[in-house]
Structure formats: structure tokens, C-alpha cells
């Protein structure tokens, strides 16, 4: 484990835990789960003090359709080691604080999960859409019906019908 991750672990407050595993190359990966979203900013501040850098943020759809909780994973680079802080949020109407005051580069990451998932970010400096075209519905990745069955596999199907129609005669 490198000094940065160690330094962060030294700053842990009661209720925060980190599980670490080190691979054959000596690279450590730490996992930290936060039950209360309010802990995110203090944890991020501790990461920053330890010298960490925000790598990326992953939001995802809960696997279970009836789940009441959803998660966002914040990945920090600690001088080569990686720390992942997973925050639990309510499934519906999830809101989270923006990390931009601490890590400038959270900007795009947060805009991205705002447009793809049903999550709001408080105090985001520029909450416009980032990549997804205005014609696409909001929170597209939170839909439970696989999108392909709705729109496009129809186009794939007609495609194959055409190919087969063209070749069927030859058979």
C-alpha cells in the first residue's frame, strides 16, 4: 500500500471502513461504503488531504427492480492505488452533493450521470446535458425495459429479414 492510501486510512472517522486487497504487482485497491450520503464530502475532503485525485464516478441502476436503495461509486487515484467510495442513496429522487468544490474534474462526471440516471446533483456549476442528445429521454439508463427491445432491435430484425429475403431465393 502506498503512502497516500495509508494516509487516508489514518483519517478515517468512526463508521467509515475500508477493505483493501493488494494484487501480485503490489497495487492496492480499497473499497469504502458510505450508508449516509452526507458523509461523501467529508470523505472526499480526507481523500484530497491525503493527496488523492478523482479518477471517475460510476452510477448504476440497481439490479433488483424493487430495490429502494441505489449506489454511486466514486473512484479515487491514490498515487497508483485506487480507492472506491460507494455511496448509498434512496432509489427514488436521489440527490447528492457536487464534488466540484474539492475536485474540479468532477464536473463532467456528474453531468454525465445526471443525464443518464435519475440522480440530481446539488450545487453543480453547470448542470446542462453533456453528451446525450436532447431528443433522447432523460435518465435513459434507468429504464427497466431493455431499450433494444423497444426501438432498435426492430431495425436489426428488418435488416436480417432483408438479407434473408435476398438470399432465400438462392437456397
Amino acid at each position: 500500500m502506498k503512502d497516500q492510501l495509508g494516509s487516508f486510512i489514518g483519517r478515517l472517522q468512526p463508521g467509515w471502513t475500508v477493505e483493501c486487497s493488494t494484487d501480485g504487482y503490489g497495487v492496492t485497491v480499497g473499497w469504502c461504503v458510505l450508508e449516509t450520503a452526507g458523509d461523501l464530502l467529508p470523505v472526499a475532503a480526507a481523500v484530497k488531504q491525503a493527496g488523492g485525485r478523482l479518477s471517475t464516478i460510476t452510477a448504476y441502476q440497481p439490479k433488483d427492480a424493487n430495490a429502494t436503495v441505489r449506489e454511486i461509486a466514486y473512484h479515487f487515484d491514490m498515487d497508483g492505488d485506487t480507492l472506491t467510495v460507494t455511496v448509498r442513496l434512496p432509489r427514488l429522487g436521489a440527490e447528492i452533493d457536487s464534488l466540484t468544490p474539492l475536485f474540479r474534474n468532477a464536473d463532467w462526471n456528474e453531468r454525465e450521470f445526471m443525464e443518464l440516471y435519475d440522480i440530481q446533483v446539488r450545487n453543480h456549476p453547470d448542470p446542462r446535458r453533456l453528451f446525450v442528445d436532447a431528443t433522447v429521454d432523460p435518465a435513459i439508463l434507468d429504464r427497466l425495459i431493455p431499450f433494444s427491445t423497444m426501438v432498435n432491435s426492430a431495425s436489426t430484425k428488418t435488416l436480417w429479414e432483408r438479407i434473408m429475403a435476398k438470399t432465400g431465393g438462392e437456397q
Partner: protein
Amino acid sequence: MSFIARISQRSPWLYRINAGSCNGCDVELATTACIPRYDVERLGCQYCGSPKHADIVLITGPLTLRVKDKVLRLYEEIPDPKVTVAVGICPISGGVFRNSYAVAGAIDRYLPVDVNVPGCPPRPQAIIEGIAKAIDVWRERL
């Protein structure tokens, strides 16, 4: 064919449109168009910076929703007679991106395509072969 027509078919100018490609085909197009090894200037081709100067338009990418209107508008700006070449499997069929919510899919649903050059990405020689086929088509339209 008249003498004039024979001469003018020796000057097909190329223009490329990226409709959301992974840049593989674009890199290969740049390679084909600009480097000594492939030298399309031999065929009288020349890359142009403006769609208004173009004769043969090379389209790459699966046509994302965000570029769709822009690509179609750009296509309209190319004066007739023109020939369209779809480079790579994405513009031809949508390729691996076909089933995405952000992709409009095969480009021949929106504008007339004349020549397809499949590949992922096609090698420069294959692109040249496609351009040569496009020149044949273009000759008929001149």
C-alpha cells in the same frame, strides 16, 4: 463520351464527413488521402476543406442522433453531381453500435449511398478500391 466529359472525370475531389465514428476509418481516410504511400492525387483526387468543392463524399460512423441533422445539412451543401461512399461497416449497417439509443443507424435510410466499403476499418487499399468504384459511378452522372 465527349472529350470534355472525359477530362472532367479525372478530377474527383473528395470530402469526408464523420458521422460519429470511432475514428478508425477517419485515420485510414487521412492516411489514404494524404500520405505518399497511397497518394490518391495520382487519380486526380484532392481533399477539400469545403463541402461545396466536393464530388465524392466519404462518410464514416454510425450516424449518431447528435450529428444526424448536421450531416444531412452538410450533404445538401455538396453540389450535384455527387457520389456517396460509406466507409466502414458503421455507416453501412450501424455495425456494433446499431442497437444503441444514441445511434440513428445505417446511413442509407437518410441519404442515397452509392458505394460501400466494409471493414473495421477498411485498409487504405480497400478505400482506394471504393473510391475507384465511386469514380465509375460519378462518370455516369457527369
